[in-house]
């Protein structure tokens, strides 16, 4: 296998709060290879977005980041603001959730794409205009020249997200981080955006980190999946492995909460959707042991409440399928 373009190792992020440190990311590790898609899945507040912002130094000053993130052979954590600035956009592009608020309402599309172009090289006004029009065409916006003069509110939601993607592509990044990039969109538009990113990934050979809570999206596009809970990876593996043989009770809970659309059985014979009781823990007050144990339906081991289970290979699965649960380590499979 090729060397990873992005390798995150034991990433920790804590925020200073009045109630003490809120530990939002607690030892996250993953690798992203060029041209591949990694999905990071978890509930709101599981630390998905914070991890990605931490890589680029985009968190507020109250955040303390530790660990390692090697991008393209160079460490990102602890680098100076100016060094990180050069990576932002040019090395790693980002697409955010809500394209309405993520674009500046008072600046034209041309201006906002132009900023991304000018951030990393000197470009003339004409150069900006023609390059921005090219980018709009590339992300599937018709009549690009006219759209350049538009303001975000004059575009539809899907169109805005295409503009966001054009901005992210402007610096020709090796890695694209899509942070809930389809969450705010209609289902039909979601599908278009997913297709667009897959196409762009093929054309540019980018590695894509897809941050989402939507398992449907993950199944469609990911090669490898990392499931996050309370700021750590609880299970990871190839997408088929993980969906086919989920090992962690949390992953199973997530999959159980997902409706099966093409279930051939009549409605009353289908398995009921399982909801997971409880809420993710407060990052300022994490439970001891496995962070999931208060909500865990299994809790099969005495150590669950006292020591965090290590991320270990799932017996009988491919080597990269790993889960952080004592349950699996004992070989139990439901």
């Amino acid at each position: 296998m090729t060397a990873p373009v992005l390798a995150v190792d034991d990433l920790h992020v804590a925020f200073r709060t009045r109630r003490g440190p809120a530990r939002v990311v607690n030892g996250l590790s993953f690798e992203l290879h060029p041209g591949r898609t990694l999905a990071v899945v978890g509930e709101s507040g599981s630390g998905k977005s914070v991890s990605s912002l931490a890589l680029l130094g985009l968190l507020p000053g109250t955040a303390q980041v530790r660990g390692s993130a090697v991008f393209d052979g160079a460490e990102l954590i602890g680098r100076s603001e100016e060094e990180l600035r050069r990576v932002r956009g040019a090395g790693i592009g980002m697409v955010f959730q809500d394209p309405m608020t993520s674009l500046n309402p008072v600046l034209t599309v041309e201006r906002q794409i132009g900023e991304a172009l000018r951030a990393h090289e000197k470009v003339s006004d004409d150069g900006v205009r023609s390059r921005a029009a090219e980018l709009l065409t590339e992300v599937g916006i018709p009549d690009a020249a006219a759209r350049l003069r538009a303001y975000p509110h004059q575009l539809s939601g899907g169109m805005r997200q295409r503009v966001m993607i054009a901005i992210a592509l402007a610096g020709n990044p090796k890695v694209l981080i899509a942070d809930e990039a389809t969450t705010a969109l209609d289902v039909t538009v979601q599908a278009q955006i997913l297709e667009l990113i897959e196409r762009l990934q093929d054309e540019h050979g980018m590695g894509v980190v897809w941050i989402t809570h939507d398992l449907g999206v993950v199944a469609g596009i990911a090669d490898h999946v990392v499931v996050m809970y309370a700021g750590r990876c609880v299970e990871e593996g190839a997408v088929d492995e993980l969906f086919g043989r989920p090992a962690h009770p949390y992953t199973r809970g997530l999959l159980g909460a997902l409706p099966v659309v093409d279930d051939p059985r009549p409605a009353r014979e289908r398995a009921e959707l399982v909801t997971m009781p409880g809420l993710p823990p407060d990052p300022a007050d994490l439970p001891p042991g496995c962070a999931f144990h208060p909500r865990c339906p299994v809790r099969a081991d005495a150590r669950c409440a006292t020591e965090p289970p290590p991320l270990a290979p799932v017996p009988g699965s491919a080597a990269e399928h790993r889960a952080a649960t004592f349950y699996v380590a004992r070989g139990g499979h439901a």
């Binding site: 680029l56 990576v87 980002m94 955010f96 608020t101 993520s102 500046n104 991304a116 509110h153």
Partner: protein, 317 residues
Amino acid sequence: MTRYALRRLAQSVAVLLGVSVLVFAIMQLVPGDPIRAALGQQADPETYQALRERAGLDDPVPVQFVTWIGNALTGDFGVSFRTGETVLSLILERVPATLSLAVAAIVVALLIAIPLGTLSALNPRKPVDWFASLSSQAGLSVPDFWLGIMLILVFAGTLGWLPSAGYVALTEDPVDWARHLILPAITAGVSSGAILTRFVRSSVLESLGQDHVRTARAKGMRARDVLTWHVLRNALVPLVTVGGVQLAYLLSGVVVVEYVFAWPGLGQLAFQAVESRDYPVLQGAVLLFAVIFLLVNLLVDLAYARLDPRITYRSAR
């Protein structure tokens, strides 16, 4: 944009009509006989009666109003009871002084508010922030007249750098105009600056937390460009509103400051008119203040629409 401007203009005219009714009504309700006040107690009854008739004070009130507003529309606001000059000329005489002071004061206010408010928003709960909020508190609490007197004592008295009072027209001597303007402008600008500092701070803080600022940083833009084009540019939109209100307030005369610096502005004119029950002058001045407020507000709204493209868009639909 044109349609929007026309609609706002029509609204302003309607408001102005309402204001003129109110101004007229209040003058009718104020106790005291203006002719008596102008002539003094010893005037003979014939002169008194003649003046009353000339001023139209014996006509029915609605007739007085229609006459007054009709004349006002042609620029005739009547004649001062006290000096016999036309109200229009009295007001126009004072406009340059007031305009100089108001514009200089708002410049002082913005020069204080924008850097201080931005610095404190960028460093929340740091010493700069404390300093800013402390000085803004002080600026609001210090009475104008005291600040004016202190400035005169130090810069005109002890140091002797600047004149202590008076006004010189810009057309007469620009340098002297500026020298006379500095102290009153600072005095009048400090409290507006204090109000605006708090406003800039909260506006910039809000702007800083916007998603599009994060997008701008994620593009790899330099911190300075992000601050200028995404934080300040967007914080400017609400600032224009509050700044406009402050400007209108300064334009309608800062009575105390004008008094302290013997500044022949509109505030002083209105104040003297109240003292001497000079109704025509007072009516004219109040109406002018209303026009100033409406005009500044209109300009603010138009500027707003230019600064935020979403606004014209909404009204055009």
